[in-house]
């Protein structure tokens, strides 16, 4: 049933455009026209890590769109960076940022901020990275 839904109508209605034409839904329509994430105003870094919040409310009761749910699904398997989520959901990073802002505000995810540049290379960590690279 669901397979039919995804297959057939798509084939018929879409002859006049192809993948090259880009998505039919303009990206920021998914965010209700918002280009910035919620009142917290946090701009998530590309490598900010997104984890499901264990104390998250019930997904079914929440005012979430399909794209929100898709992002949650992507996080379910493992912690994801914002860049990976954008690639996984096939959405521009800017759109993902807005959607993540919603998810953060509603308590579905936690977003870790990357280490600030000033305190970046903790020597112990850098040594670990070098050893890890050697061992690859």
């Amino acid at each position: 049933m669901t397979e039919d839904m995804t297959g057939a109508p798509h084939e018929q209605g879409s002859q006049w455009y192809d993948n090259e034409a880009g998505p039919l839904v303009r990206p920021y329509a998914m965010t209700g026209g918002r280009t910035r994430s919620g009142p917290t105003g946090v701009r998530f870094d590309l490598i900010a890590l997104v984890t499901l919040d264990p104390g998250a409310p019930d997904v079914d009761d929440a005012p979430l769109g399909p794209e929100h749910r898709n992002l949650l699904d992507l996080c379910r398997t493992e912690t994801q960076s914002v860049a990976e989520l954008a690639a996984g959901a096939d959405l521009p990073v800017g759109v993902v940022r807005v959607l993540l802002g919603d998810l953060l505000e509603l308590g579905f995810v936690t977003v870790s901020r990357p280490v600030p540049p000033a305190q970046l290379p903790d020597e112990r960590i850098l040594r670990e990275v070098i050893e890890g690279l050697r061992a690859l």
Binding site: P27, Y28, T35, T40, V42, D45, L46, I47, A48, L49, T51, T79, S81, A83, E84, A86, A87, G88, P92, V93, G94, V95, T110, V111, S112, R113, P114, V115, P116, P117, L120, P121, E123, I125, L126, R127, E128, V129, I130, G132, L133, R134, L136
Partner: protein, 201 residues
């Protein structure tokens, strides 16, 4: 300034992600290098950029807002559970320099890939990282058939600051790419220590 998030959850050793940029001219092999060392097939992420913000004088700017899609390729190396390295290929075109600012924020360092046949293509990247004091190494991608130049030649031709490492590499080769990254992380560590000493003395 909501900066408490990561620290608050940091009880069970919060996951740490580090960022390394791969820059250089168009077609120099940035994505190839990312792909050679990444444990995942390089992913592509797209950023929609609105260029309206710049033209404030334009009274009806909003209506004529143009958006550009910029693609970045990136890969990942997991060092251990909770510590991973992300590699980002910077967009090749100079006019997207403003995207670099965001990419560069918090970056551990950068690899500037150079092709000796078109050395000038990497000038903007070298300038950029030098000005922002972001540690970088120049990796000369030794294309088959290209005349080989020694690292000192390249260093001189690029007028690099003393100490900036120049490494000859083959961007397709995993071990070669690993070596480039190791040199970069070592160098970033040295730069950081030097700065710490500077700020104390």
């Amino acid at each position: 300034m909501v900066s408490e998030h990561s620290d608050a959850t940091g009880g069970e050793s919060a996951a740490l992600a580090l960022k390394i940029l791969v820059a250089g001219g168009f077609g120099v092999g940035k994505t190839t290098l990312v792909g050679a060392v990444s444990e995942i097939r390089p992913l592509r992420t797209e950023e929609l950029l609105s260029e309206a913000g710049q033209s404030v004088d334009d009274t009806d700017g909003v209506d004529h807002k143009t958006t550009t899609t910029v693609a970045m390729d990136f890969g990942r190396i997991t060092i251990r559970s909770g510590l991973s390295l992300y590699l980002f290929g910077t967009p090749g075109q100079d006019r997207f320099w403003f995207l670099w600012d965001e990419l560069a924020q918090g970056a551990l360092g950068a690899v500037v890939l150079a092709d000796t046949r078109r050395l000038e293509d990497c000038f903007p990247a070298v300038d950029y990282f030098e000005h922002r004091r972001i540690p970088f190494v120049v990796a000369v991608n030794c294309f088959a058939g290209a005349r080989h130049h020694g690292a000192p030649d390249v260093s001189r031709a690029l007028d690099l600051d003393r100490g900036t490492p120049v490494v000859l590499c083959d961007a397709r080769d995993r071990d070669s790419g690993k070596e480039v990254l190791i040199r970069l992380v070592e160098y970033a560590g040295r730069m950081h220590t030097a700065r710490l000493l500077d700020s104390v003395g």
